[in-house]
Subunit: 305 residues, 2 copies
């Protein structure tokens, strides 16, 4: 079992009311892989510049992540600078420097083309389609995106979404893409347009899966020690897709279990800056967090005569 | 078993993208009692003016609600006018006419003073304290409030909240009252100030109970046919408090069951304008909605070796 992730590896500068970091390891593929590796093997396909710190690459390798597809190109690594307000609910982007990422075209090796599980992290939907055209017969594909692609490349994005088994969006993105301000109706509209399953991330509230015959709500862990929300969505995706890959099936039951794992990983990720916690947490910590989340929404019988 | 509710009975004019109503039955005590009556007996303590429509009083009576404490005073009934935008997430108040409600001072009869379960709906916290000083030995007290009282009568409100078994607030109110933008920390701060249990209503996302030793998240029903959200919070409170009264205990298990019932009643309430659905729904419809909500967040075991 292994997951192929195609996305960004970046250097992030982040300010929050709790402190800040400069040029720390970031990017969707970094967060995803450091999360998913707790459940399965992970191969990264991404690009960095010549300035990418060797210790960041070594961290990924030390955590068992296959960085054979992490290509180094002449130029600087993708950089992102963002800032959070007091409620830490969303990041204000202060600067984005695409650098080597601007010319990124994922070229999969013959081995990567045989990937059974694929996560298309938030990149240009045309690149996501290039990846889908290269993988031969994936068992499970999940994709993520962002508001920028929804407005600029809507048709390509919808093509990707129709080919994915699960599409991750946050609630604002679901509203924007569907044109409906109410999330359950937004989900219905997207399902009616051929999307198989929509996984709507609601930040501090939780996440909800909308399928044609299935709906599942998993509450977020009610954190009192939130430090840096950067990467929470990709850590969620890592736990979710990593679990599905390890389960080798994506029926209703493993989808629920995978959402709980994703929620646990996201909640652990945000306890420190950057993917630091994802790198250090143990299986026991994950199991404990999973237990707390399951208990939080445990639904007793209600006898109504 | 019976619940005493002290709150407002009003005439509401409401506009939504789905239509509008003029001077329909409204007010926290109306929504609460029409919801709670599905679980237990309800007595209203409130005031209306001479213009209160006889058919509205008759509706309450027909639904088994004790309106002996619904006093008629010279003048006009409390009126509220509000409007919702496309996402139906919150009401913009266009006009409030207190009318006879401005001079309301709840005076309980000897029978009402023996109430075992009390719901202090959203009224001036000084009036809520007057009620608490009149009831003799309630088994269970719940209270609600709004941003206006949080800013104008904070100390009186905190006194009420410390005397209640469960305090209902929405997430914005919890932030405003605590001064902390993150809800789990806001809840902790309020518990540290002597509040026994906080029930944070998160609208479309659900509701979360924060106690000293217990936390429970109940997701909202993902409505695709939301018509008018007016009264959803009071319908929730009615299902919640009504269930607790019928269970005659408020341990961790009945609190969870009560939150599921509150969620079900709120979701049924919003399917039509005014408390129309609360007046017509059957026990079977409630049981069916409870089942859907329980299934929505059913948490399977997750085996992590």
């Amino acid at each position: 079992m292994s997951v192929l992730v195609v996305g960004s590896v970046a250097l992030d500068s982040v300010r929050t009311p709790n402190g800040s970091v400069e040029e720390a390891l970031g990017g969707s593929a970094s967060y995803f892989s450091l999360s998913a590796r707790h459940f399965t093997d992970v191969q990264i396909v991404a690009v960095v510049g010549e300035d990418f710190p060797p210790q960041s690459r070594e961290l990924l390798v030390a955590k068992g992540i296959d960085v054979g597809g992490l290509s180094t190109q002449p130029g600087r690594t993708f950089r992102w600078t963002g800032e959070y307000g007091a409620d830490l609910s969303y990041a204000k982007t202060l600067a984005t420097e695409l650098n080597v990422f601007a010319a990124f075209h994922p070229a999969l090796t013959p081995a990567q083309r045989k990937a059974e599980t694929v996560f298309l992290a938030n990149i240009d939907p045309e690149l996501q389609l290039e990846v889908l055209d290269q993988v031969e017969s994936p068992r499970f594909v999940a994709c993520d995106t962002m508001n920028y692609w929804i407005t600029s490349k809507r048709e390509a994005l919808l093509k990707v979404m129709r080919r994915a088994d699960v599409c991750l969006l946050n609630d604002e993105e679901a509203r924007l893409l569907s044109g409906d301000a109410q999330v359950p109706r937004a989900a219905r509209l997207l399902l009616d347009q051929g999307v198989k399953r929509l996984l709507v991330k609601k930040g501090e509230h939780g996440a909800m899966l909308f399928g044609h015959d299935e709906r599942f709500f998993c509450p977020a862990y009610p954190h009192e020690k939130l430090v840096d929300p950067t990467g929470a969505g990709d850590a969620f995706a890592g736990g979710f897709v990593g679990y599905i890959d390890s389960a080798r099936t994506h029926g209703a039951l493993p989808l629920r279990q995978a959402m709980i794992c994703g929620t646990a990983l996201a909640s652990l990720c945000v306890e420190a800056f950057s993917p630091r916690r994802l790198a250090e947490i143990t299986r026991e910590e994950i199991a404990e967090r999973v237990k707390v989340i399951r208990t939080l929404a445990h639904m007793p019988d209600v006898a109504l005569d």
